[in-house]
């Protein structure tokens, strides 16, 4: 591969999520609820070279602009990710994600006796009680988890 050559071609319109920790691109897509059933074309690079991270993952979603609240949901697994909104091949907007105050539905409470694991209508909800390091507290049963636990407990994973 020649120096400067793009592994995945530029997209005309859509969203590029860069600086995802290596190996977590599929988790990011899972959190965003993006899979083969949507119409948009998705490109994904795993283990791309990165000066700052050594290795990183990149995701490109064509013809869909992520909203900032959607972007924030990936903060747990990719806190350093940068999100660029692309319009007509140009970066129209740069978004920096921030850890949200609470996280609903995407993480399964690891406590098997928590009501969120025992009623069809109950959905998980965690309060973010610390952002660095990340500590989440189940708003129903009080169970606390860190980012590693959260990654293991991703409801979609």
């Amino acid at each position: 591969m020649k120096k400067g050559e793009l592994i995945v071609s530029k997209i005309m319109n859509g969203t590029v999520i860069d600086h995802i920790p290596a190996g977590r691109a599929t988790v990011v897509l899972g959190i965003l609820g993006i899979d083969h059933t949507i119409k948009n074309r998705i490109s994904m690079v795993i283990n791309a070279e990165s000066k700052s991270m050594g290795k990183k993952d990149i995701v490109k979603i064509e013809n869909r602009e992520l909203k900032s609240e959607e972007a924030d949901t990936i903060a747990l697994v990719a806190p350093e990710a940068t999100i660029n909104i692309i319009r007509n091949y140009e970066v129209a907007k740069k978004m920096k994600i921030k850890v949200p105050e609470s996280i609903a539905r995407i993480i399964k409470c690891p406590n098997p006796l928590c009501i969120t694991n025992n009623d069809v209508e109950a959905a998980s909800r965690f309060a973010v009680i610390s952002k660095n390091p990340i500590i989440l507290k189940c708003e129903y049963c009080g169970t606390e988890i860190d980012d590693r636990d959260a990654l293991n407990a991703l409801a979609c994973g």
Binding site: L113, D119, V120, A122, Y140, G142, E144
Partner: protein, 299 residues
Amino acid sequence: MHDLISIKDLNRELIEELFLLADKYNKNRHAGGFEDKVVAGAFFEPSTRTALSFETAAKMLGAEYIGFRSWEGTSLAKGENLADTIRMLDNYADCIVMRHPNDGAARFAAEIAEKPVVNAGDGKNEHPTQSVQDLYTIRNSFGKIDGLTYGFVGDLHYARAVNSLLLALNMFKPKKVYFISPESLTVRGEVLRTLNYKYEALADPNKVIDEIDVMYITRIQKERFTDPYEYKKVEASYRVDLALAEKMKSSAIIMHPLPRINETDRGIDRTKHAKYFAQASFGVPVRMAVLSKILGGKR
């Protein structure tokens, strides 16, 4: 106050207001005043004292009391989920008192119901009205809650009454709190991290017994263990006997949310330290206070 799900829904001022109401109802148990109200008791898990004291409290306030005491006999046995059962009770009653084996079930029920929900115990999580009853017992014994040394003995990991009372003490100024238990049954980290007073965990009560004003004993919560082998390992791992009780300060009291199994020597019943039956008797006036506050109105 709309719902009472966690002891953290109360503050010191509200707790002291409940004490005064409980004093009033203790003197006049057949107080009435809520004849137009219906209280529903939804007990999805066994209960003797809590269920009966809520029912008695509702009736003494003049309210109608409806409800059930087990899964059997309800549509839950046919597979109905908790949310639908709560919606039904929400239509029938002015207040829902609920006990449930799942942690967080009361908060979920409160999100479903428009009427107030009172948590009568949810899994290993919380039991806020027990804490008001416990604090009322301490206040009636010492005239205060601040400045005392507390010793919690037993299963501090799964006992919801302990969990709520430890959180309640954040609103007061205990001198020191000792956690006396086998290591595997000590206070859960997420509770420990929220405590704002001085505490120390230890295994042998003899070292601190002469400092303690309030000893709070719990049984091992067998029903909360997901692994029976883990329960077997700690079964009968502690017991408060008469010899230990005799080393206490003469003014010290021993409390227990009951039921008790083998963790206390029944000889203690005859000592002046034993306060657990008085503690249980306060269930009715305290729950009258809670229900009257929740059902509302200046009656």
